[in-house]
């Protein structure tokens, strides 16, 4: 077959044009790759499975479209440990070539991948609550639409001091960073409003029976617990079994709506503060809850809502960037400008460090108003709007303190 010289030229020119075509043209049609870092095995799987359900519910609702692009969803199981998180983050970035990562679940996982996502310039929307990554050691590629560990604990500290009129609180939570940061936040806000923390106890993460710790709770008029995973369930049981009656306050994980179906009478009266609440009567939340119930036949809590909201942020950010995610700096900048009003938790926006400013809900657990076949229900009794990670302190003053830890703020005599 003889090829005409002119036809050959034309063909070559066309091919060259296709190669040289601006990235925009190709990007519009290209798949948008969404990577989820979650935990589907081991003790942390309870929240991890919900995270995947949140992502899938969002994608089904939007017919697998984000910011005008078709989504390719990749889910990775980190196993709930830092080494696994690092490996899976590398796989998502280098093998699956994702455009954005949502997750991981736990603070120690986030610390493990923080440097890597910064090097790779990979926009990461985390659920994990490691305070300092949006405070004293901010990571420009990190965005947190959920909350820092202490963000829900400041309001509950305020509530305990001003509304419950507690004077002497006894704090108990797990012996790891999330626990320290939670109790630090509670103590700082509680003491600011005139309360005093009499003692802080740190049981190890895996403690089959909390009775030995519960036995030490005394000399107080209220208890603050910050347990996560399945631990709140066992703590509240041991607490009730010991016949203790002091009011108990807790944060987002200790009173999570997803635990309602597992809790029994021991949880009645538990007051929790969370950035998400199942009983929020808005269209945004109704759409989310209905979606989860339809797709997965389960009652959602904080973890499912958190990832669903992260997906909303990605969608809005991608729209703001005209569907372009190739220039990571620009995409990240677009993500940071996102402010939404119809998320399951209500309106959210981000501060300049990439952490969310949004509503915190104080709820009391009881039987009144229970829906979805549940026996117990967290009923909202107070809302704190526009809660930032700095609570009511000026940013400079807040950041001048060390990060909340086991020893900060120190216990004072009371």
């Amino acid at each position: 077959m003889r090829i005409h010289r002119r036809a050959l030229l034309k063909g070559a020119a066309a091919a060259g044009l296709a190669v040289a075509a601006p990235a925009v043209l190709r990007a519009q049609g290209a798949l948008f790759r969404l990577g989820l870092l979650t935990v589907k095995s081991g003790p942390l799987a309870q929240g991890g499975i919900q995270m995947e359900q949140g992502a899938l519910t969002f994608l089904k609702e939007r017919n697998y479209m984000m910011g005008g692009r078709k989504v390719d969803f990749v889910s990775a199981d980190t196993g709930g440990n830092p080494a696994g998180a690092k490996t899976k983050a590398q796989e998502l970035v280098e093998r699956d070539k994702v455009d954005v990562i949502v997750g991981p679940l736990a603070a120690f996982e986030l610390y493990a991948i923080s440097d890597y996502v910064r090097e790779q310039r990979m926009p990461t929307l985390s659920l994990a609550a490691a305070d300092n990554l949006t405070q004293r050691q901010p990571n420009p590629f990190l965005l947190r639409a959920s909350a820092t560990s202490s963000q829900s604990m400041h309001p509950i500290g305020h509530y305990a001091a001003t509304e419950l009129k507690l004077k002497r609180a006894f704090c108990i939570t797990e012996d790891f960073a999330f626990g320290y940061e939670q109790m630090g936040g509670f103590q700082a806000a509680f003491q600011k409003d005139g309360g005093c923390v009499v003692n802080k106890l740190w049981p190890p993460l895996s403690t089959p029976d909390y009775t030995p710790y519960v036995a030490q709770i005394a000399d107080c008029d209220g208890v603050c617990q910050g347990f996560a995973g399945s631990n709140p369930l066992r703590f509240m049981k041991a607490y009730a079994s010991a016949g203790l009656k002091y009011p108990v306050v807790t944060g987002s994980t200790g009173g999570d709506d997803a635990l309602l179906k597992s809790y029994g009478e021991e949880a009645i009266g538990l007051i929790s503060c969370s950035p998400y609440t199942l009983d929020l009567e808005t269209d945004g939340n109704k759409r989310f809850v209905d979606g989860i119930m339809k797709n997965h036949n389960t009652i959602p809590g904080f973890y499912a809502a958190g990832i669903y909201i992260n997906c909303q942020v990605v969608d809005a950010g991608l729209k703001a960037a005209n569907g372009q995610s190739e220039d990571k700096e620009k995409f990240m900048a677009a993500l940071k400008t996102v402010s939404l009003t119809d998320t399951p938790r209500g309106p959210i926006k981000f501060d300049h460090l990439g952490n969310v400013v949004g509503t915190s809900y104080v709820r009391r657990c009881g039987t009144e108003g229970a829906k979805y076949g549940l026996k117990l229900w967290n009923k909202t009794i107070k809302t704190y709007e526009n809660v930032s990670q700095f609570w009511t302190w000026p940013e400079q003053e807040f950041l001048a303190h060390p990060v909340y830890s086991r020893d900060y703020p120190p216990l004072t005599k009371c």
Partner: protein, 282 residues
């Protein structure tokens, strides 16, 4: 005062639960020399099965005690199968047994996660045992007292079985000298299966009995297995001793909770490898 009463009673309760868990472990290890790392999984599987039978998700609902027994029987049957199919082939190879039982325990954990999901399941106290007993100022949960009684009943029952029955005599013969037991006509192979199933059943029963105290959740197996190991290494009244060390250690030295728990194990292993009250090994 309340503090000490509460801790003491809780120590005995927890010791009782550990006794139920580790009695089976001792039997299996003593007779078959199998370091059975699936023991925690059997505990967890028993609790999951029992909780499911109790909640009536299968269309019928059993009462607490019946659920515990049925769960124990089911786990015992599955474990007998595992002994026949897997462990039988690895007789005498301890490293292989450790690896296989560890592997099976991880698989069981994932299967439980698949079937029951990640949500913790709480188990209600059996009817009639939800209240408190008052001793001085301390309120002691009735159910925890009941656990002590159950453990005592099982301790006596096991002792009678080992000392007074033909099966017990065969087990003791098998522990002391399996080869000689074979020579005198004891079917040691069948004995192994029976003991393995019995030990597994006890662990599963303990899982359900522990349900109202510990609840059931992914990772329960990994929480309980090390405790069973420590108890078996201490031997004798190890379960009560560990119950006390565990509870008082956590209350008085919370920073050193694990240190206090495992220190006795390390000391006994180094200084008295035959166990606290064990006789001279021949």
């Amino acid at each position: 005062m309340t503090f000490w009463v509460l801790l003491t009673v809780n120590s005995v309760t927890f010791g009782g639960l550990l006794f139920l868990l580790s009695a089976g472990f001792s039997l299996i290890f003593g007779l078959m020399r199998i370091p059975n790392l699936t023991h925690g999984s059997m505990f967890m599987a028993g609790a999951y099965l029992g909780a499911t039978l109790l909640a009536g998700q299968l269309g019928f609902s059993l009462n607490f005690w019946l659920a515990a027994v049925v769960a124990a029987l089911a786990v015992a049957a599955l474990s007998a199968l595992m002994e026949r199919v897997l462990l039988r082939r690895l007789a005498g190879q301890q490293l292989a047994q450790v690896l296989v039982t560890l592997g099976v325990s991880l698989m069981v954990a994932d299967i439980c996660l698949m079937v029951w999901g990640g949500d913790p399941i709480s188990v209600d106290n059996p009817p009639g045992l939800g209240g408190f007993v008052r001793i001085g100022a301390a309120a002691l949960p009735l159910y925890r007292m009941a656990v002590i009684v159950i453990a005592a009943v099982f301790a006596i029952g096991l002792w009678l079985m080992l000392e007074r029955t033909r099966l017990g005599a065969m087990i003791r013969a098998g522990v002391d000298d399996p080869d000689m037991a074979r020579v005198v006509g004891i079917r040691v192979s069948r004995l192994f299966t029976i003991v393995f199933a019995l030990g597994a059943g006890l662990a599963a029963f303990a899982g359900m009995i522990g349900g109202p105290i510990l609840s059931v959740y992914p990772g329960l197996d990994q929480d309980m297995l090390p405790l069973a190991l420590v108890v078996v290494i201490l031997g004798g009244t190890g379960s009560i001793i560990i119950g006390f060390i565990y509870n008082f250690g956590q209350a008085l030295l919370p920073e050193l909770a694990y240190f206090v728990l495992f220190l006795p194990m390390v000391l006994v292993l180094v200084l008295r490898p035959q166990g606290l009250f064990g006789g001279q090994v021949l």
